[in-house]
Subunit: 153 residues, 2 copies
DNA sequence: TTAGGTGCAAAGAGTTTGCTCGTAT
DNA sequence: ATACGAGCAAACTCTTTGCACCTAA
């Protein structure tokens, strides 16, 4: 079946090779923010005839076409996620490396105001929180995550 | 004369070689966020007997000792600034690459609240704005930057 | 005196690219 | 048919490191 990302590629007139189809599928199925090596690992499992150079070339192409967004969470490797609907940001669990997404429209407004105050139009921004899972407070009121868009890793 | 950074090094019991003294001075005099190559360039001008390996080793040491902070503004190279007083963030002028610092305590509170809502304690965070200098609006009410801590680059 | 710093060049990690061959359109 | 993609290995950029020598304390 045609994956979501593959459809986007076709819409933009990209030539769909077997390799691109596989990478597109891996990306469509990812609910995390994989780096190139991780994408490569997953892709090779579906089709061994893929080289890491192709993965690099493909993510770059898809980024240029606006299908993917490149993230940098530190650690010196780029990580990718499909371009999506609304703005969201990332909270990185400093112990596990997991990434939690969240959004906060109120917050966006504040940023725009800050830029304006400095004499700039806000073109884009980057916000990352690094946090540590809070110890269950004395009272064991077991309550799962209170909010958040739900994507993980 | 003993530079501010050199004083900090001595306080922490670091052995002060000629090279370190020069690098400390360059850092003390920098009002921007230089990368290693830029530090090296400036240091060599003061004393040609400095290798870039020493600059790398020194900034790493100073970062470990809490004297410097490493920044990543994209572009794949680390940039450094002395550890300072209050938190501040950066607005990068997308046209010139200049970095403007600003702070916004209100904003900090919002971030902490977001982390809490997600079940985390906020350990640290990263916020960068990318903006474009606003065209002088029709009326030429020449007014310089309205706010900001003042460091540049 | 000696623990630790330095220069140099080589090694690493992540990413890009030249070239030749292969394939989607 | 042909413009474009893929694989491989070499090249590149930024950063770290092994080793022999040097120096601050």
């Amino acid at each position: 079946m045609e994956s979501r990302i593959e459809r986007l590629c076709v819409e933009r007139g990209l030539k769909m090779t077997g390799q691109r189809r596989v990478i597109a599928r891996v990306l469509s199925e990812a609910s995390d923010h994989p780096d190139v090596e991780e994408l490569y690992r997953r892709a090779v499992q579906l089709d061994a005839r893929i080289s890491i150079a192709t993965v690099y070339r493909t993510v770059r192409l898809l980024e240029e076409r606006g299908i993917l967004e490149r993230r940098d969470f530190g650690g010196g490797r780029a990580r990718y996620e499909p371009t999506e609907h609304g703005h969201h940001h990332h909270l990185i669990d400093v112990d596990s490396g997991r990434v939690i997404e969240f959004e906060d429209p109120e917050h966006e407004r504040v940023l725009k105001a800050i830029a304006t105050r400095l004499g700039f139009d806000l073109v884009s921004h980057r916000l990352e929180l690094f946090g540590r899972r809070r110890e269950a407070p004395a009272e064991p009121a077991a309550k799962p995550a209170a909010n958040g868009a739900g994507r993980r890793s």
